[in-house]
């Protein structure tokens, strides 16, 4: 049996594969178009393109957008809901919102339609005391109706089940007797926390994507096995850890952030190896730009991700924020003559004018092309169309030359992205100046240095394979399980023995789950947190705990310090409240050698050997700029901007004043000029 480790990430446009040989450090890469509707075909095609025999592969880790797309497009399994009498419309009414602050319009489609949401008599109060016993006959009748209606998955979601799950457990047992579906989701099982809408949507999405995910993963596992893969398939979870294909369905909802989680995981590992533990990740593609904040070498995790309008998924997942569109952002001059970039996007189809696929509206990518920042030869005749679009739609109404107009588009786009990144940092209590920018995705390295300058970030880290980062993240991911339990008491009144018991139980459960996996493990560690607030507040602050047996005074001090650091406010007048206790158990795998992501054999001894040509690039005026091939750059390269560096999966722009160096692992580090 082979020992190769393969990471494969299926994105909206491309399927990326990264195969590492732990013995030699050798790496094979592939990028193929994503196949629809069956993503498995693209995965197999990627293995074929990399020339890898699956029999030699000892581990396949897979990042997938199957569940994300299923939710966004509402291509969901037919799912029924059994809920507390009087509350079947909770999933349709939501939290009383509208999509945007201005504009009295909007649409919302609930995950489960009204006729498949059935009510039964039962009721708990907020402390988990039974007010109305569960009507078992009504549960039986409801199950019968849902089966007859053609449902294949079931959610049982009762009010206050987080406080006492007895009725959900009893109803699930009844349902399991009558209905041979493997797909029953109980609301409290995924999220034992109050807020009936968020818990209900999380459970409903889980139930509705579970059959979709299990079918897909099962089919892929079979296909891989048929081609000689003898081990278990692992799937990237939204929390940045991976789980075995057989276990992924139980918490299928956690895979809705599978792709972004891989990218952040790769950034954490790359940053750690490069000695940079505080990173802002900047993943810019054609249709969206995602940002995450890595502190102390740890992936950021949030329990409050909203993946679409009114679609909150409240399980721990990497905290990746979409801050705007990408290269497809549309530029225009509005009725008052003011330049605007985004939020509309030409998307991937038809895409920017320069793609030559029928796009007619000027975009950010078109502006980059006009300025010589993208290789003109790659776009052929459409390059002229892009220039014409910028000239007619931007330059003429603003009374500017074409280059000045294109520069304005890029600059405004950078201003918006920088502002959004600042807001993400600030909302998490961080100052961007304390971070390095980790730039990836097809367009990230093109804009990174300008953004870093705007945000006063001193340094940009460009990984060896910016366009394959997610696949790499799959290769290096940990195993991870997260737990959260609501305590909800003033700290003064909390039973500290109970606090210690909860944390100990969470750690034990996580270690047991990891022990059941078949993957090779190097070390297991547990991290602990408390979610706290001042009494009377609604926002929570997550406070890291150094160990699972904190004393009361220790908790109080940790909270006050964290609060002061975050809000610059101290409130000695007010008591602290202990809301949740949380634990993550993380198993790290043996390290994978990442020094050969760029093949040493391809490197040239001198910088001149990597030079492929020169072309004029606009930096406030045309400058003849050297163009280098990334794969040929000599080890220990040092150069000063301006320069363009091209590689298979992206274009890197080094602006005048910037200084570039590489490190031993093939990363490029840009010291941003002021």
């Amino acid at each position: 049996m082979g020992g190769l480790v393969a990471g494969v990430d299926v994105g909206g446009t491309f399927t990326d594969l990264c195969i590492c040989d732990p013995a030699t450090g050798a790496v094979r890469l592939a990028k193929v178009p994503t196949s629809m509707p069956n993503q498995a075909d693209g995965v197999l095609a990627a293995f074929a393109a990399a020339g890898a025999a699956l029999a030699e592969v000892g581990l396949v880790v897979h990042g997938t957008t199957t569940t994300t797309n299923a939710v966004l497009e509402r291509r969901l399994a037919r799912t029924g809901l059994i809920t507390t009498a009087g509350f079947r419309d909770v999933l349709e009414l939501g939290r009383r919102t509208r999509p945007r602050p201005y504009g009295m319009t909007g649409r919302f489609v609930p995950v489960i339609p009204r006729d498949l949401r059935l009510e039964v008599d039962e009721r708990m109060d907020a402390r988990g005391r039974v007010l109305v016993p569960l009507d078992a006959d009504a549960v039986r009748a409801a199950v019968g109706r849902l089966v007859a209606a053609g449902c294949e998955s079931l959610v049982i979601h009762f009010l206050h089940a987080y406080a006492n799950p007895a009725h959900e457990l009893a109803a699930a047992a009844i349902a399991a007797e009558l209905w041979q579906t493997p797909w029953i989701t109980m609301g409290h099982a995924l999220l034992s926390e109050s807020r009936e809408y968020e818990r209900g949507v999380t459970a409903a999405v889980n139930a509705a994507v579970r059959p979709v995910l299990e079918r897909y993963v099962g089919r892929l596992a079979d296909e891989l096995a048929a081609r000689g893969y003898a081990r278990e398939l692992l799937v990237m979870n939204g929390n940045g850890g991976m789980v075995s294909a057989r276990a992924v369905g139980r918490e299928a909802v956690k895979t809705v952030m599978s792709g972004p989680a891989s990218g952040v995981t790769a950034a954490v590992v790359t940053g750690r190896a490069a000695g940079m533990e505080n990173l802002i990740t900047f993943d810019m593609g054609g249709t969206s730009t995602d940002v995450a904040l890595i502190r102390g070498g740890l992936a950021p995790v949030s329990n409050e991700i909203e993946i679409d309008y009114a679609m909150p998924i409240h399980v721990p997942m990497v905290d990746v924020r979409t801050v705007g569109a990408g290269g497809g952002s549309i530029a225009r001059v509005d009725a008052a003559g003011l330049l605007r970039v985004g939020p509309d996007s030409a998307g991937a189809d038809p895409g920017p004018v320069c793609y030559g696929r029928g796009g007619t509206r000027a975009t950010l990518s078109d502006a980059n092309l006009v300025l010589g920042r993208l290789p003109p030869d790659r776009f052929g005749i459409a390059a002229g169309d892009a220039r014409a679009a910028i000239a007619a739609q931007i330059a003429a109404p603003l009374g500017l030359a074409v280059e000045a107009a294109a520069e304005a588009v890029v600059r405004l786009a950078n201003t918006h992205m920088a502002g959004a990144m600042r807001m993400v940092s600030v909302s998490l209590g961080a100052d961007p100046r304390d971070f390095a920018l980790f730039a990836f995705g097809g367009a990230g390295p093109l804009h990174a240095s300008a953004l870093a300058r705007e945000l006063a970030i001193p340094r940009v880290l460009i990984p060896a394979r910016p366009g394959l980062t997610n696949a790499l993240g799959c290769v290096v991911a940990d195993l991870r399980h997260d737990f959260l339990r609501t305590v909800g008491r003033p700290l003064d009144d909390a039973d500290m023995a109970e606090v210690h018991a909860i944390l100990a139980a969470q750690e034990a459960e996580g270690r047991a789950l990891i022990a059941a996996e078949t993957v090779a493990i190097e070390a297991v560690r547990a991290e602990f947190w408390a979610d706290m607030q001042f009494l009377g507040q609604t926002h929570l602050l997550r406070v890291p705990l150094p160990h699972p047996r904190p004393a009361r005074a220790e908790l109080q001090a940790a909270f006050e310090a964290a609060y002061l650091a975050r809000f610059r406010v101290s409130l000695p007048e007010i008591r602290a409240g202990l809301v949740n206790l949380a634990c993550s158990v993380i198993a790290t795998r043996p390290p994978v050698d990442l020094t050969r992501l760029i093949d040493p054999a391809g490197r040239r001894p001198t910088l001149a050997g990597a030079l492929t040509g020169r072309r004029p690039v606009w930096f406030g005026g045309w400058q003849e700029t050297p163009v280098y091939r990334r794969e040929r750059l000599p080890e220990g390269v040092r150069l000063a901007g301006p320069a363009v560096i091209e590689q298979m999966d992206c274009t890197i722009l080094i602006e005048p004043g910037d200084r570039l160096a590489d490190d031993a692992r093939g990363n490029l580090i840009v010291e941003v000029g002021r």
Binding site: R96, R98, S194, G536, T538, L571, E573
Partner: protein
């Protein structure tokens, strides 16, 4: 003349300063009204005339225009010697409705930004305090007849002097408001937000220089005005009438009328409210700043792309409010102005503008904040409490699709509290939280549905109060569409069903354990002739139980 690129960049950065102030305020605030419901706003204002320069994107829409009026008043009072002039580190506090405000609960802070000894601009923010004293907890009295009954009224005075809080003034305030011990958290958050803004603005000014930023601000104002004029110029010539009805003022049980005629005159839109009802005895009066702000926010709902800037308001003229309940003077009670009257004004604006702009404007939304307050004593905790249930309702249908169900108020952006959280905190049990069936106004695109909830008091005694609207007539349908369902309040007490005399407003109705309150909130108005609705869509609504079959037949017609 500033170049267009620098202009666009500075505009985006000024916007980000405001967004960051919004964030700082919400994240550190205590009151759920601010922290969770975002009932607050932050902005930058002109040093000379207080005109709005930029405002946070996540600020409560009803504050879209108000702070420029309060800042303008403050500047004028300082010039006239009525208010002490500022020194660096000073922050003013003010909540007087008649000095450019809304209701008393909306407390404004204002602070000058200094550059080399001169005031460059003002920063101001508003936060809705959970209580400012007065005859009922929370300030929403349905039966007040003078502003003194509604709470503590502060003219602009310095709460912070040279960077330090004035402890004596603070003690006066604390002695006049309820649950004062928690307000210190909100006050610090509100002041800290201004300091964050000052800090960020200084960075921006250092980078670009004051002259450039000043030129950019002037240019932004001109551009916003030009953009609004361009929108207006694209409308057909003409004038369009509309009306909106407020159920009653809470004291005298008679409807109040908002009469409106919108006229396009060249590149100006004139909103003439002549013929609206005179000032009322109860708290459904509006003050001038709130009335103007309501017009502005309604227009921005129609043209969401126009920047939030004083320039955008320049082509909008409001006339004919003098002597009406839309321009109430001291000592008229005003607690309903920000939450209810503002939404009726917006409804009138929508109903007028949908005529020339049928593709952009929707039928009327539910348009009430649906304020239900329950105050009582919980014997289990031994404490008094005040619970608020603010509800949403259906939005109007529009040219493209049906209205949203359970949207937030026209003037708000907040989320509803979960039932589970309400039951954790208060001695109540919700019997139902459901779709208000049948409430969506029929139309080619029907209105969205309101909410139907029922709450039971579990223990202790309590008093229920209601400040809602649209109990008399539903949200207006347009272009042949029908009105949405009306707001209904019922108290189920000892086997009897009691409906408040004023339908949507009542104060201090006593409740005993087992008594229930049922509220059904309005549905949105329908858009276009119901007979033009796709029969499959009608059948789907019937199949899903949103309308019963006979009702649907009657509303949409049989074919």
């Amino acid at each position: 003349m500033i170049d267009p690129v620098t202009l666009a960049v500075i505009q985006a950065q000024l916007q980000q300063v405001c967004d960051e102030m919004d964030l700082a305020f919400s994240r550190a605030a205590f009151s759920p009204v601010i922290a969770e419901a975002d009932d607050r706003s932050d902005g930058i204002y002109d040093a000379v005339d207080g005109a709005l320069i930029a405002q946070g994107a996540r600020g409560l829409p009803v504050f879209v225009g108000t702070m420029q009026f309060s800042t303008r008043t403050l500047i004028a009072r300082i010039a006239a010697g009525e208010t002490a002039p500022p020194e660096p580190g000073d922050i003013y506090i003010v909540n007087d409705p008649y000095l450019g405000g809304t209701h008393l609960m909306d407390v404004r802070f204002a602070m000058p930004v200094w550059r080399e000894g001169r005031i460059f601009c003002w920063l101001s923010n508003t936060g809705h305090w959970p209580d400012t004293g007065g005859m009922v907890p929370g300030g929403f009295s349905a039966s007040a007849i003078a502003v003194e009954q509604e709470g503590l009224r502060l003219p602009p005075v310095k709460l912070y002097k040279r960077g330090a809080m004035d402890r004596e003034l603070w003690q006066v305030i604390c002695s006049n408001i309820r649950v004062a011990d928690q307000r210190i958290g909100d006050v610090r958050a509100q002041a800290a937000a201004l300091l964050v803004g000052e800090d960020r603005l200084a960075t921006l000014l250092d980078r670009w220089g004051e002259a450039t930023v000043t030129a950019a601000i002037a240019e932004m104002r001109a551009l916003a005005a030009r953009q609004m004029r361009a929108m207006i110029a694209a409308m057909p010539e003409g004038s369009w009438r509309s009306r909106a009805i407020v159920d009653s003022d809470g004291v005298v049980n008679a409807p109040l009328t908002i009469a409106l005629e919108v006229s396009r005159r060249g590149e100006q839109l004139v909103f003439d409210f002549t013929g609206s009802s005179p000032p009322c005895a109860g708290p459904m009066n509006s003050v001038r700043a709130t009335t103007l702000s309501s017009v502005y926010l309604a227009v921005r709902h129609v043209f969401p792309d126009v920047p939030l800037s004083a320039g955008a308001f320049e082509p909008l003229a409001v006339r004919g409010i003098e002597g009406s309940f839309l321009d109430a003077r001291y000592p008229r009670p005003v607690s309903g102005c920000a939450a209810e009257v503002s939404q009726r004004i917006a409804e009138a604006v929508f109903a007028a503008l949908v005529q020339p702009l049928p593709a952009l404007v929707a039928a009327a939304p539910a348009g009430t904040s649906g304020n239900f307050a329950l105050g009582g004593h919980d014997p289990e905790t031994g404490r008094d409490y005040v619970m608020y249930q603010i509800s949403g309702g259906g939005y109007g249908g529009n040219a493209d699709h049906d209205g949203l169900s359970n949207g937030c108020s026209t003037i708000g952006i907040s989320k509803a509290p979960p039932v589970e959280i309400m039951e954790q905190r208060f001695p109540v049990l919700y019997r139902r939280y459901a779709l208000h069936e049948g409430s969506g106004g029929a139309g080619m695109h029907r209105g969205g549905f309101g909410v139907d909830y029922e709450v039971e008091l579990l223990r202790g005694v309590a008093r229920a109060s209601f400040v809602m609207d649209h109990g008399r007539v539903g949200p207006q349908g347009v272009l042949g569409g029908q009105d949405g369902g009306v707001n209904r309040v019922e108290i189920l007490r000892g086997g009897e069903v009691v409906v408040p005399e004023h339908l949507s407003k009542a104060q201090d109705i006593p409740l005993s354990p087992g008594d229930r309150v049922r509220v059904r909130t309005p549905g949105g108005g329908g858009y276009g002739e119901p007979a033009r609705r796709d029969p499959a869509a009608v059948a789907e609504d019937v199949r899903l139980g949103r309308y019963d079959a006979r009702d649907a037949q009657r509303r949409f017609g049989g074919r």
